[in-house]
Every structure is written in C-alpha cells, then in structure tokens.
C-alpha cells in the first residue's frame, strides 16, 4: 500500500522527484488533478473533509482548498497560483500550506501516456531550502507513504470511470 509512488530526494538538495505509474489513461490521471469534485475525494488527509474554495484550472489561475475535521474545525488551508496549464501534459504551480513555517513550493507535474491504458506522473517539487525539504519529509503528512496512499485512492476512484 502506498509504495508504488517513488520518491527521489538527493542528499543536500532542495528538491524532490516523485514518480508514479497508474493503470489509467493519461486523460483520467490529469482529470483527477483538475476536477474539483474528484480532487476532494483523494487529495485529503485521513479523517478530514476537503472543500475547494477556489479553483481556476487554467494558466495564471489560482486555487485554495480547506480541510476540516469531524467537528468542522479547520485543520489546514492550502493555496497557490498556476503558472502553466496544458491539458493532459503539464501543470506548473506554486503550493503553500497557509500559516505553516515551510515556505512556498514550486511544483511541476508532467503527465505522460505509456500505453492507451497506462500512464506516468512525474512531479518535481522545489522548496525554498534543503532544510525545509528535509523537515517536511520527516513529518507524517510529508512522507512518501501519505502521498502514495492518496495516489492509491485516486487510482481506485478513477478506475470506476474507465
């Protein structure tokens, strides 16, 4: 579980590369990243409910998403701007967890078809410093396992739409 997503974090650097292959056509993997109704189903921390406050899925658009716990208390708000948006191919965006001391990240998502039914996602995430990257990777939310589990959830959700 969660181990199909591979992380590569070179010692002393301030970026990571994340790769994952999906048993899904590239169009469905892209859709999972840009359809607000689908995003809230998988890009969510355990035991929280996600809500998209803003989603401008286009070049120079912006987004904001909030997660609440079962009591309705806000657990986290994330937001950023979209620098590049090429359907089924590429997204470049900034990402920030509001009120968290981890700065702003620049994220590159590359979507590639492998066959008609399989595809590969490559994410290149750049942090403001190597120290921030290393701190985040040690935290439960930033671990490879959490993202891998989210990707598993996404693959399951999207498989039903094939």
């Amino acid at each position: 579980m969660g181990l199909k997503t591979k992380f590569n974090a070179e010692e002393g650097k301030q970026d990571i590369t994340i790769t994952r292959e999906f048993d899904l056509p590239v169009e469905l993997v892209f859709k999972a990243h840009v359809d607000p109704e689908i995003i809230v189903q998988w890009k969510v921390q355990p035991n929280t409910t996600a809500k998209i406050l803003k989603f401008g899925g286009k070049k120079h658009g912006s987004y904001q998403m909030q997660s609440t716990d079962s009591q309705g208390k806000i657990v986290s708000t994330v937001s950023g701007v979209i620098h590049e948006f090429i359907p089924n191919r590429k997204i470049i965006r900034t990402f920030e967890i509001e009120n968290a001391p981890i700065g702003v990240m620049l994220e590159f998502y590359d979507f590639e078809p492998l066959t008609d039914d399989t595809s590969k996602l490559t994410m290149h995430v750049i942090y403001e410093s190597g120290a921030i990257r290393d701190q985040l990777m040690k935290s439960p939310g930033g671990s490879g396992y959490t993202m891998g589990a989210a990707h598993d959830r996404m693959e399951e959700i999207m498989s039903k739409l094939k």
Binding site: G12, K13, Q14, D15, H60, S62, G80, V81, I82, H83, E84, I92, T94, E96, V104, M105, L106, F108, H124, I126, E128
Partner: protein, 160 residues
C-alpha cells in the same frame, strides 16, 4: 567597477541570493517593482523598450512583459504569477523567460527599510536545476541586473 548588486551563488546549488541597497525609502523601492509605468522604464534600456502586456499586482494576480528592439522586433517576453503580494514587504512570484532554456523560477523578493531614506532588496531565486542556474550565470546576468538596479535608483531618485 564593482557592481552594487551582490549575487551569492553557492556551488552545486539551484538557487541564488541577490542583495542590493538603495538610497530610497522602502515605499519608493516597492513602488518601482509594482507600478506598471515605472516597471516599464526600469526594464527599458538603450537597446530595447519594455511594455507590460498584463499586470495584476496583487496576491494571485499575474503579469506578462514584452521587449522590442529599435526595429520593433520582439526580443524578450516573460510572464508569471504572484503567489504573495504584501505592500512594502514581500512579493513571491513565478518568472519565466518565454522561449528560453532556463525553465520557470520561483522568486522571493523581500523589501526592508534600513533607515528613513535607505532600503534593502533581497531576492531569493530558485531554479529548476543547478545546470539552468549556472547556464544563466554564464551570461552577463549580474551586470544586466546591476545596471537595471542603477536605472531604478536614478528613476526613483527624481520622485523623492
């Protein structure tokens, strides 16, 4: 002549730290980076004329610039989005030189008041890779930036 704009590029890293002190109150320094007409003046040099095609100076806004030579030929285009925009303090934006091999950069600008009449700009520029950063540094990047900052100082001094 020693450049007034200092660039610190640690070996093997993919980022740069740039600092420059100005004989300007921090409000004028910030204005130079956020007032479209002044941005165009600062970006214009003896060889090219800059124009802002789009400028939304606010959080989650975006911008696009274009520079043309004396014959009207487009020689430079750039664009990006503002992640954060805090007047007189901080701007975080993306920057891309269009049709160039340098990728997309994340830029953090910090504006600091040093005294009533002086201020400091700190820029932290993060590249997609160390190779792209080093390739850019091989160009007359430091000279160009320092000259643009000299122009900024000159233009804004008249508004003091």
């Amino acid at each position: 002549m020693e450049l007034k704009t200092k660039i610190n590029a640690e070996n093997g890293k993919q980022d740069l730290t740039i600092t420059r002190e100005f004989d300007l109150p921090v409000e004028l320094l910030f204005k130079a980076y956020t007032e479209p007409e002044i941005i165009e003046q600062v970006m214009t040099n003896p060889y090219t004329t800059a124009k802002l095609l789009k400028y939304e100076g606010k959080k989650h806004g975006s911008y696009q610039t274009q520079s043309t030579d004396a014959n009207g030929k487009i020689v430079f285009k750039s664009n990006g989005v503002f992640h954060e925009f805090t007047p007189n303090k901080k701007i975080i934006r993306t920057f891309e030189m269009e049709n160039a091999p340098f990728g997309v950069q994340l830029e953090v600008y910090e504006f600091e008041s040093v005294s009533d009449g002086t201020s400091r700009l700190k820029m932290h520029v993060i590249y997609e890779s160390n190779a792209q950063r080093d390739q850019l540094l091989k160009m007359p990047f430091a000279q160009g930036l320092s000259m643009a900052h000299d122009r900024l100082q000159e233009i804004m001094s008249k508004l003091k």
